[in-house]
């Protein structure tokens, strides 16, 4: 069996050498350890002895040739044997591997490509990225609200719910004139407005109230004709005598307070841990005020002990200061029941959201003239809808109905209301 003798590393890191002279010729019979050739390397001229006994079948390279470690130098075998193709063979010791440059070139290419396209990865911590993967959200399509434009877990969650903020695509049609505060989304132009702290607080409060209470809204209709007559009569006298703006709201506040006395559970909160309903023996009525920044609910303390003039004065004062954001913290807390007087702004009735930790909120709606049937006759009366949202965990629908029946009764019969004050 022919043996191919490859040029070994004869001196710790030799790569090549020069053939100085061959000491044998093709056809010669050689013995193991017999010197075959002399090679000159960087370090020395070395003699290479034969690893095998046999006949020299083939000699590659001539004197003066450059040889590299691993090159087949000579083939030794039996006389007349065929010679295998020359080329790199194996020696007893493993040769060092050639330096491979191709992978390095590949990497350089990839880097160049990345730089050229200017690809910019979305900013997100590993934890947020993992969340995005979990929720199937493509981060490159999410706009980050975190510091430095970072995408937060919240951003990912909102994106997952479909409240997606889209980033603009790379190219924009040049012809379109875009105002400075408007950005183009895939669906069309949008303007982004920062959320105020108040807005975020309201958002939190509304969402959690809806999550906490089992909201039910009961709607009642009241005939406010007599009330409006009384109001129109009183208004100029009161406004002349006291320097205030007299609205119809104090009537409603008083009616509400009377009903709260009749139905204490509407003026309460619940201590679930103690397993107790806390019935408030004081009457702090919150008045929902619409301000340019959002809804604020200042509280009129002890509405039961104030007459309507005082109530009117207080309502005007807190509403004004609410709009100017000049209310004290104490004026915004401690309410036991809330009124939302949405009527002046329009609408028929509504489903207000309870002001936690209260159990009920009263909505007052538009008073307007409507045809109604009285004693078989169609007459024109000042009618209004009243809505009350209450927490059905603690107050049943029947109670709500009874409450509103009483309230409507007091509104419709102001003399009855007066009798109780």
């Amino acid at each position: 069996m022919a043996f191919v003798f490859n040029f070994p590393d004869v001196g710790e890191g030799i790569h090549e050498g020069t053939v100085v002279e061959w000491l044998v010729a093709e056809g010669d019979v050689v013995a193991e350890d017999q010197p075959l050739l002399k090679v000159e390397t960087d370090k020395a001229v070395v003699e290479l002895p034969s690893p095998k006994t046999g006949t020299v079948l083939k000699i590659h390279f001539a004197a003066g040739d450059l040889i590299h470690v691993g090159d087949a130098l000579i083939v030794i075998g039996d006389a007349g044997e065929s010679v295998p193709d020359s080329g790199k063979g194996t020696t007893a010791l493993p040769q060092g591997s050639d330096a491979v440059s191709a992978p390095e070139v590949e990497v350089a290419d990839q880097l160049a490509t990345a730089v050229a396209t200017g690809s910019r990865r979305p900013l997100a911590t590993p934890k947020t990225r993992a969340l995005a993967r979990e929720m199937g959200v493509d981060l490159s399509k999410v706009s980050g609200t975190g510091s430095g434009g970072r995408i937060t877990d919240d951003d990912v969650e909102r994106a997952a719910r479909g409240e997606v903020s889209l980033t603009p695509p790379a190219s924009v049609p040049a012809a379109v004139e875009i105002p400075a505060n408007v950005t183009i989304t895939a669906d069309g132009p949008v303007e982004r407005v920062s959320l105020t702290h108040l807005r975020k607080v309201i958002a939190g409060a509304m969402r959690s109230s809806k999550q906490i209470s089992a909201h039910v809204t009961h709607v009642e209709e009241a005939d406010a004709t007599a009330l409006m007559a009384a109001y129109r009569d009183l208004k100029p006298q009161i406004e002349a005598e006291h320097d205030i703006k007299f609205s119809v709201l104090p009537f409603f506040i008083k009616a509400l307070v009377e009903c709260l006395k009749d139905f204490p559970m509407f003026n309460a909160s619940v201590d679930e841990e103690a397993g107790e309903m806390v019935l408030k023996k004081y009457y702090n009525i919150g008045i929902a005020v619409d301000t340019p920044q959002g809804l604020i609910v200042p509280v009129i303390k002890d509405a039961d002990s104030k007459d309507m003039i005082q109530l009117a004065r207080q309502v005007a004062d807190i509403a004004g200061r609410a709009r100017e954001r000049k209310l004290g913290l104490d004026e915004l807390r401690g309410g036991t029941c809330t009124i939302t007087n949405i009527g002046p702004l329009g609408g028929v009735f509504a489903t207000p959201i309870i002001n936690q930790p209260e159990l009920a909120i009263l909505g007052l709606h538009k008073i307007e003239q409507r045809p109604v049937v009285r004693d078989g006759q169609i007459v024109i009366r000042d009618m209004m809808y009243l809505s009350i949202s209450f927490d059905h965990r603690w107050i049943d629908g029947a109670q709500g109905a009874r409450f509103m029946t009483q309230f409507a009764r007091l509104i419709s019969n102001p003399n009855l209301l007066m009798a109780r004050l």
């Binding site: 070994p8 004869v10 370090k43 003699e47 290479l48 020696t91 010791l93």
Partner: protein
């Protein structure tokens, strides 16, 4: 007042066998003729073993090899004076001592061919592995000597090093500690005149290496390292001293490195052929052969028979070397700690997966 002499030193040299094979009758030790023949036989076998390694290297079947050619007498005489209970701590040019102390010859081939199993010696063979960081083994000689003394063993640590290694700090620290603790140690310097390309004259300003012993309060002696009888006497004395609580000895055995430093070296770059030829005349093997023949203990027939025996024995070692199956991948990881720590097990598994993929 005049200066007084506080210390005076004398260093002696021992020679017994001359270049013609004649011995100094007064100094000649009592040795059984068969033992002397054994000296010769071992030197011849080990030279053949050594020469074959050089050829294997040029054939790509062996890694770098440091030849012992010319230094056989020191190695054979020392090895044959040692007992099984003595420890051998080699440098890296002590193949003959190691084989004669029980290290299987083919495992020495395996070590230099790049297989760690070449340093895994059989149970009961008291031999340290080859020390590559030059001179670091001098300290182990002191440590093992101390160990034997503390345990009350009647045994010695025999530690080797070359002339170059005496410049390392470990030589100083090892001898100093051996002197202080009076350890059971024999320090043998194979002074073969060259540390790669640096001759002894550039290695130290000391006139001899043996005299350095004085600095440590340790007895020292210089011997003709190519004189097997002188080496035998010096080593036997030192072993006796070390084994019986007499403390350490430093032996400088003067010899010559007839070959290159290793197969990666070309000595003709820094020394003359004349010098080499001059020292070849002091070659320990023909020298002892002359003695044997002069005393009717050897002849041409026995020489031929020995040459054949040597060739066969060496061929057997080569076969054993090349029959060794390769170590498995796990061998890279398995011998780092008593128990493989988890992070290493992970790395091993990862490599395995890569390789098998």
């Amino acid at each position: 007042m005049p200066r007084t002499t506080v210390y005076e030193a004398v260093t002696q040299r021992l020679e017994i066998l001359d270049l013609e094979g004649q011995v100094d009758a007064e100094l000649m030790p009592e040795l059984d003729p068969n033992r002397i023949i054994e000296f010769y036989r071992n030197m011849v076998l080990m030279r053949a073993f050594d020469n074959k390694a050089l050829k294997l290297q040029r054939q790509g079947r062996m890694g770098t090899w440091p030849p012992i050619q010319g230094q056989e007498a020191i190695q054979v005489a020392t090895a044959m004076a040692m007992e099984d209970s003595d420890w051998l701590i080699p440098a890296f040019r002590e193949q003959a001592v190691m084989v004669l102390r029980g290290v299987p010859a083919h495992t020495i081939y395996a070590y230099w061919a790049g297989d760690e199993r070449g340093s895994a010696f059989p149970d009961g063979v008291r031999c340290f592995p080859i020390a590559v960081p030059v001179g670091s083994q001098w300290q182990h000689g002191a440590g093992v000597g101390l160990s034997l003394k503390l345990r009350g063993e009647q045994a010695a640590a025999v530690v080797f090093g070359g002339d170059g290694s005496t410049s390392e700090g470990d030589f100083h620290e090892g001898l100093n500690a051996a002197g202080v603790f009076k350890t059971n140690t024999v320090f043998v310097i194979q002074n073969n005149q060259w540390a790669i390309s640096v001759p002894l004259s550039k290695q130290t300003a000391s006139q001899t290496l043996a005299q350095k012993a004085h600095a440590y309060g340790v007895p020292g002696i210089q011997v003709d390292g190519n004189d097997i009888f002188a080496v035998h006497v010096a080593v036997t004395e030192a072993l006796e001293r070390a084994r019986t609580g007499g403390g350490p000895t430093l032996i400088e055995a003067e010899t010559y490195r007839l070959g290159d430093h290793t197969t990666a070296d070309d000595a003709s770059r820094y020394r003359s052929e004349e010098e080499v030829e001059q020292w070849r005349e002091k070659d320990p093997i023909p020298r002892l052969r002359k003695y044997l023949e002069a005393n009717g203990l050897w002849d041409e027939e026995r020489e031929t028979a020995l040459e054949n025996e040597a060739r066969e024995w060496v061929d057997t070692q080569v076969e054993a070397l090349e029959a060794m199956p390769p170590q498995p991948l796990e061998a890279i990881f398995e011998y780092m700690y008593d128990e493989m720590p988890p992070h290493l097990a992970e790395q091993m598994a990862a490599l395995k997966a890569e390789v098998e993929a």
